[in-house]
Structure formats: C-alpha cells, structure tokens
Symmetry: C2
Subunit: 225 residues, 2 copies
C-alpha cells in the first residue's frame, strides 16, 4: 500500500458514500446549497450532513461560504465537476422506471434541457452541439476544437468567454440521457450563462432542469429541437 495509493484512495473515499455522492451530484447544477437543503435532499439528519460537508470541504472537493447562520457549499471548481461527471458517466446506465405522472414530466423536463455543472445538457445541449458542428463552428476531426468561424460567431452573438488557465476552451461531455456528446469547457459555460441572462432558458425550481424559450433558434442556428 503505497503513499500515492493512499492519497488517491483519500480522494475516492470522499465520493465513496451514497450520501456524499448524492450531494455532489446535486451540486453539479453549479449553484450553492445550504446544509439543510442537502440534508432534506439526501434524506439524512442535519448532524449527519454537517459531518459529510466538513469532510468534503476539508478534502477540497467543495468550498463553503458562511453567511450569518447559513452555510453555503458548492463544488470547488470545474476540474472537480469534471471529475464527478467522468465518474458518473462511467457508471452503468440506469434504467429508472418512472412510476407516477409527476415523475414522468419531471424526467422529461430533465431529458429535454438541463444544466450540467455550468453548461447546457439534455436534448437541448446535444442539439446545440450538433447545430454548431453542422455550421462548422466546432471541428471534431482531431478531438474537438473551436474553428475561426466559431470564434467569429461567438463575438457576433456577444458572448464573452472567460479564459482561465488550465481550462480548455471547448470540451466534449457525454450526455447522460442522450448518450451523445454536448459542449462543455469555457465556451460551453459562456453559452449557458449567456442563454440564462438573455432569458432564452430559465431554471425550473427544484432541480437542474431548464425551461426552454426558443433556445437553439435564439442562438441563430436553424436546427430545431
């Protein structure tokens, strides 16, 4: 049992509990949650969630902001989000059975459009990536890359991409419901926040699902969704 192994195991251990994993998946929406919200979501007591959050924050997977009597936690950054996505994508495909009307509509909304940490996913996200590919804005021939046309399109749209060291401009992310790639990375994040800002999509309370108001059409791309 090597020192490196012990370190790796330490990181994995943070996600190796059902409650903590549930918390991290919820946090994939990119927002900050309070401890009580997470306790309710994960169906455990407040003391229990408190300990889990201590562990996750202490381990560097989450960061926290204390405001008055509230404790807000969120994922530490894009890299940790990608890690969780990566692990979740590897997991065997779940074949969940929706057993009520509300569950069905909830699942459908989730499949139609949602956020994936800080970018767009679901049918919407995949359709957007497809439309961009068709228009020659992104190029998949060697990995994935933004073309000069893509850069011009972004500028024209008024989307400001926040370039941060160590984060690729474009990255493909396997869509959990569609099983096909959608657009992540700095450009994916910029497009998502732009769409939210412009009101093209909006959060449906209580989850990662999004309400769609035009969306792909609003981006000036012809493909329907």
């Amino acid at each position: 049992m090597s020192a490196e192994g012990e370190e790796l195991a330490g990181w994995a251990r943070m996600l190796a509990d059902g409650t903590r994993a549930t918390v991290c998946l919820a946090l994939l929406d990119g927002r900050a949650w309070t401890a009580t919200e997470l306790a309710k979501l994960a169906k455990v007591s407040r003391p229990t969630i408190s300990e889990h959050l201590n562990l996750l924050v202490g381990g560097g997977l989450l960061t926290e902001v204390r405001q008055g009597r509230h404790r807000y936690v969120k994922l530490a950054g894009p890299d940790t989000a990608e890690l969780i996505e990566g692990l979740a994508a590897l997991a065997p495909r779940r074949t969940e059975v929706a057993n009520s009307l509300s569950a069905v509509s909830k699942r459908d909304a989730f499949a139609r459009a949602r956020t994936c940490y800080d970018h767009l996913a679901g049918k919407l996200g995949v359709a957007l990536a497809d439309a961009m590919t068709e228009r020659g804005l992104i190029d998949w021939s060697d990995g994935i890359a933004l073309t000069p046309e893509g850069q011009a399109w972004l500028e024209n749209l008024g989307v400001k991409v926040e370039v941060r060291r160590g984060r690729p401009a474009v990255r493909s992310c396997l869509d959990v419901t569609e099983r096909r790639p959608h657009l992540a990375g700095a450009v994916g994040a910029a497009l998502c926040s732009h769409a939210l800002q412009q009101g093209w999509v909006s959060h449906i309370p209580g989850g990662r699902a999004l309400k769609v108001n035009g969306a792909v059409q609003a981006f000036g791309l012809s493909s329907g969704v």
Copy 2:
C-alpha cells in the same frame, strides 16, 4: 440518498481503499500483472489481493485473463485509465523525501521518463509535447488539436495511429512530476508504442520508468531533453 448517488458511490468505492488504489496506479503502466505480483507490491496477503481483484473485475474497472494457474489483470480500457489519472492529478502534491541512494536514482529515473498508462510521460513526455508544439505539429489555441503538419509528420515517421471510436486523437494529460501537460490520446499511445518498438526507449524492470536512448532526437525533433 438517491439511486444515482448510490451508483456513483459504488464506482468511487472501488478506488477508496489504499490497497486497491495502489493496484490501480501500478496498472497505469498498461501491462497485465499477476495476483501475486500485486500482493507483493501492495504488501498484503494473497487471499486479500484475490478479494480486491474480484471486486475490481466485478465492478468493471479491471479485466482479467486466466492462463493456466495464473490470473492476469489489467485496466479495462483508456477511459478507466483516464479516470484514475484524473483523480490522481487532483490529489494534493506529494513532497516525498527520498531517504536512500537507490531511492533517489529510482525517483530520478521516474521523473526523467516513464509511461503513463499507454503514453510517454516525465521530462521526456513533456519535452516531446513541447517540441511538437514548437514545430507546429499540435495546436493549443483551442483545447488541443493535431495540425495537418502533425499528421504528415506521423505518416512520415511511419507511426500508425489506431483510431478507436470514443477516443480522441490527441488529449493533454497533466504530468505528475513536471506539472505541465504531455501528450495522451490515440496519438500519444501510438508514439509510445512506436518508440518502444524502435528501441528508442525501453522499460526499466520493476516500475513504469523508461531507459532513454536518444528519444526526442530519434523523433527527428531538435529540442534536447
């Protein structure tokens, strides 16, 4: 505690033990190991390693081949290798103190050149990536991509890149010792196996370290290492 959370936790749990993590890190060399070799490496008994391997194979992280009285295991594929790399790269930087002469030379060899699953890493890997960048063979402006010059260079060198669905041609991988990216993906793997085949580098028994015989010069790139 959601069903998705339980699934994610299940995967993480496989790496959440020091012994299993050590095994997976060793398997990052891309080769197949026997159970007894791994038991010795991880400093546990054979029955113990046997159970761990059952768990890892059953979970789909490893695959096994039975030959006579031997059980060979290796990582299931590039995606699982990338996952482990990703987690390991996130781990806090270790500041290991080498406390013997042999440990020092071992560490130095490891830092100089080694394999990272199926591609080249260490000073050599980073230098190769740098040289390729300088020569315009790969382009980093948007993520990472192989340029037309790069494709021509590979053909000229006689390197056959095995294209497999779902695996990017080029991928950057953060070097653990250098803290700078080196080249992974299908091209990275092809270059590594080519170099081994041509005898430009060779395995030093007992680890992932490589003996260098020319290397970057052999690739026809001017930059020294």
